[in-house]
Symmetry: C2
Subunit: 705 residues, 2 copies
Amino acid sequence: MLCLVGCALTLSAQTWIWYPGDYELWLGNEMNNRRTERGAFFPPFWKMDSHYVLVEFSKALDLKSAENIDIAVEGRYNVKLDGKLLYGQPSTLLLPAGKHQLNIKVYNTATVPALFVKGTTVNSDATWRVTFEDKEWIDESGKASDTSATHYAQAGHWNFNEANLTPSNFRLPTKQQQPVKTEPVAGGGQLLDFGKETFGTICLDNLRGEGNICLYYGESREEALDTLYCETLDRLSASHPTPLSTKAFRYVYLTASGTAAYDSAYMLYEYMPETYLGSFRSNDEELNRIWDVGAYTMHLTTREFFIDGIKRDRWVWSGDAIQSYLMNYYLFFDNDAVKRTIWLLRGKDPVTSHTNTIMDYTFYWFLSIYDYYLYSGDVDFIRQLYPRMQTLMAYVLGRTNADGMVEGLAGDWVFVDWADGYLDKKGELSFEQVLFCKSLETMSLCSQLAGDQQGAKQYADLAASLRAKLIPLFWDPQQQALVHNRIGGKQSRTVTRYANMFAVFYGYLDADKQQAIKESVLYNDSILKITTPYMRFYELEALCALGEQTRVMQEMKAYWGGMLRQGATTFWEKYNPTDRGREHLAMYGRPYGKSLCHAWGASPLYLLGKYYLGVRPLKAGYEEFAVTPVLGGLKWMEGDVPTPQGKIHVYMDGRTIKASTDGGSGYLYFQSKKKQPKVSGGVAENLGQGAFRVKMTGGEVTVRY
Amino acid sequence: MLCLVGCALTLSAQTWIWYPGDYELWLGNEMNNRRTERGAFFPPFWKMDSHYVLVEFSKALDLKSAENIDIAVEGRYNVKLDGKLLYGQPSTLLLPAGKHQLNIKVYNTATVPALFVKGTTVNSDATWRVTFEDKEWIDESGKASDTSATHYAQAGHWNFNEANLTPSNFRLPTKQQQPVKTEPVAGGGQLLDFGKETFGTICLDNLRGEGNICLYYGESREEALDTLYCETLDRLSASHPTPLSTKAFRYVYLTASGTAAYDSAYMLYEYMPETYLGSFRSNDEELNRIWDVGAYTMHLTTREFFIDGIKRDRWVWSGDAIQSYLMNYYLFFDNDAVKRTIWLLRGKDPVTSHTNTIMDYTFYWFLSIYDYYLYSGDVDFIRQLYPRMQTLMAYVLGRTNADGMVEGLAGDWVFVDWADGYLDKKGELSFEQVLFCKSLETMSLCSQLAGDQQGAKQYADLAASLRAKLIPLFWDPQQQALVHNRIGGKQSRTVTRYANMFAVFYGYLDADKQQAIKESVLYNDSILKITTPYMRFYELEALCALGEQTRVMQEMKAYWGGMLRQGATTFWEKYNPTDRGREHLAMYGRPYGKSLCHAWGASPLYLLGKYYLGVRPLKAGYEEFAVTPVLGGLKWMEGDVPTPQGKIHVYMDGRTIKASTDGGSGYLYFQSKKKQPKVSGGVAENLGQGAFRVKMTGGEVTVRY
């Protein structure tokens, strides 16, 4: 098997290239179609797009001297030099000195048309152009056509930097792991325990005899032993074994029929190579364990793409992915993984449904692009993606009602959250309008980055118009909250947390309303409680944005610590502290339907990095940043946050803050009761009311506050 | 190799099914990517769409008794009965009696997801539904979603009626053929002559030694022997031979290097099995030979799809295809071939360019659908295709100018014809507006067939508005003709034949203008002459529509007879009678660039069937027809024209007409100087001015006129 280290931000001199987004779709289809449910293939229910089967790569050359290039291609291809077709499918070519035009056209249906060129100065990389229709017809006279309107994109690539590292052969690496415990089961068979949630394939040494080995996988011991209801299983013929596919499990229960037998079982752990660039440590060992288990949860769900959970869907979901991206910025900073996932989620035109069929997931897709730009500063990606942003937004705008607002039409899944109670999905949900408004604002920003001034104005106007309606239409002065929805133009009485918490951290409310919401909604126990880590992510973020780190710390320890006390080795899809026993395992009406390793379960990674270590970008790509550490009840904490320039390191205890950066510039913000806190490595600037800041430009800043 | 007889209008009890149009795209991509030019791969320059990689087939069942079905699938799949997923990928299934819902979901990237089900009453066929996104999500409670807005299509199919006849393995059948002559060539090598234009692969008996065999193919002897300029060639390693691909040729020149040698060479002739349902014979042996050579030309270019020519492009071009369809209705009546080609030409949304990048070819695509409906009566196909008709027309309407007319924008190829002289492509061409207008009329008709009343009105209004502009804007009273174009709102002085001849047979002109055009344009030698059989098709059709069969007969004999006298064994892409010697072979600035077997060369098939035998449908699917035989200078003629009900047979000489039909009803129309022509098998109805008609309902009608 081929091992490829997915290190972010490396660009080799030559790399396999393709039509941007196409490899991502192809690989994503492979991945999204690996789900099984009790031995049955379980593919997605949304449209799966695929790659352009015929594309043309081209490069304008200006060579000081002649040079040889090697050409490797996935697909059938031709090579044109200065418009002249060369014989056959040449694998090497001598390019003459001077100005020349090199065009290579590739056809491939089964896998993605891809090209690798290696020369002295001529190498395939993102500077190559690629198109899916060159429109280069030839006139009767032999004269070629005008191609001024042909749409060329910059080639897409990842890190396949050698000719033999063909994109279609990409596989995640594996390593052998042994069960920590093997026990016989009464009535036959044996139960393997790998000690913690894991992912890979089971291998059986010296498989022999006639009959089947049945493998029942469990994220819990209960699930593995429940042969009738476990979510995933395999049946392996001992005499004609077929390769087993990857599964998620901690436990595996194996039974044998007939004379089928094996000596021992182990696993091949399959993983995405990632470097843990972010870190967090504190005086609180439970919190440290929460961070570690969160990081492991993130690592298991960071695969070819950011997926939801490793046992059940193994699909890419937009609402899940945006949280993975945010956590990723505080752990791996793997930009390629973010870009791959964004391409896959978008698919191709025409748009025939919301992203993953879910209205809110369409909006998260837009929002995630803003986040990516802010953290990475990668404007090239925005420009490459912008046409598909336009067409998706056109789809949304084509489905707005007379008031310019979105409501669920036939075929739209209005999701919001898995709630333990009734959530009305009818009419205009305030939550969806808030996401829609922020999406329009994102479109306006990206229009500017893509140089579309007209679009920028159009989207800004739409955003302003929608934002102006939010308070008049949804704010209930009596309840001091945004209500859940409007039906037929009539405000409902129901208040839920969703719109209110997003409005807080989007800054859509004035200071009075922000503060009001804290008591009227966020700390109000009569409002429907959130029982998914998914929405707890935003709930706790809203509280952090309101300066409630101490309270959030208690919540984190109660909620995520609660899962740990239930024996979690990774974080779950859903956790209701009031559940008991096997209730923790059930979901979707199935006894083991719940995923026990779900990316959205790992949000403390993000909260601790952004609101405790306090590191966040203010300008795209951390060109300017803010470090605002808050102990939130801890005695001390210390950690790293990755940035495009390296890392920002923060240490804080009750008296001291230390912060350093590998690049970029920003300020360390802190509160102090002292008139002149002692600072080394910088100068404290008094902002009034006990607030200070110190400019960070490199080297360590130490503050005695 | 697998042999499949492409017999039209057969539908078996069970057949392989797929998403409509998808197999056609996949197979079309395979075919369009078989072109080579001097050993280099030469794919198209337009966007190649591909199949949906994940589709779901479904069928609502109501079974009197339980039954077993066999399931064969191309792709990875699952089976759901009444919403419950079955284990693995079952190849048989016992369906219980009663009402049940069967769903089968298939994933396949390399080839098209396809399904074959065979039971007693449950069989895969066009009644199955298929979708590329079922939107069947599952709620937290396990409850499935509302899929009321999911778009389902009726499954596509062809004639793969056995489980082992998998669509992806389709190959045209072949048979061995020997050269009629083999001659040594001075300087080495030998020249094979297969006696006439043909298509297939060369086989070498007892190939041995070290070195290469080079194969130079020629539609002419000159081309095969010109190793530097022949259009297609192969280089075969004697010790490591790879399979040769199909080529078009009459001659093959073989040379050997090193010790490479073989005993003898023959060919595998590759062909589409077609039945010649149409026929034509007359007293004129040259005309009979024109019909025969036309039929052979059509047969060679009727392959997986209707292609342009067998040597060079081997592509599907819309302008070429519409003529093939029309000829096909008088020869093979292969509806499947028409439908496959229409699907392939349309591709998928989004539309990013005109069909084949050519503006006129977009319009021919619309027009061909009207023709197909008229000849076949197949309203199901119109309904299936209608959404893609709408989006292509939306593309066109999005590119009209302020006057609602089309003109070539950047990236549009305004083709019209290969002309031996300057053809202005700028501004509003009258020719393009005439095609556009007819396309809008076709849209209006198809909207009605598809039940879209609003669309029907919208397109009818647009058509009427455009049609009202044609005469005021393009008619030049002085020249008594439609001028070629308008630039900047100003009528040009140039007159060409194109718009004028189309306006004639579309009936866009009043009787005076129709007659005027005959002299001012069609018989006016100062107007740029047409030198392609492509546009001669329409020129002669216009003359026939004006009752000029006698003159057209002379033209046919001069033009197509002229090619025969030049040694043609199939008809050519272009023929200018004034060319001499090798000039007949050259085109596109290349000495053998011209295709000597080009579908559009075979138009006498159509003209003789429609305007001499005089058979044409008046209502869709020949529900009502007209037979209006015209000798046009012949002493006698006799022939068959296929219809959905069988055939219409016509015999005519100077005194007698005999006509019979296998089904449908219509009238035999004829002129007679007698007051009461003698009729058996029917009754003559006097229409005045020497015109009569006899109702045909079955049996033979004989008229002594």
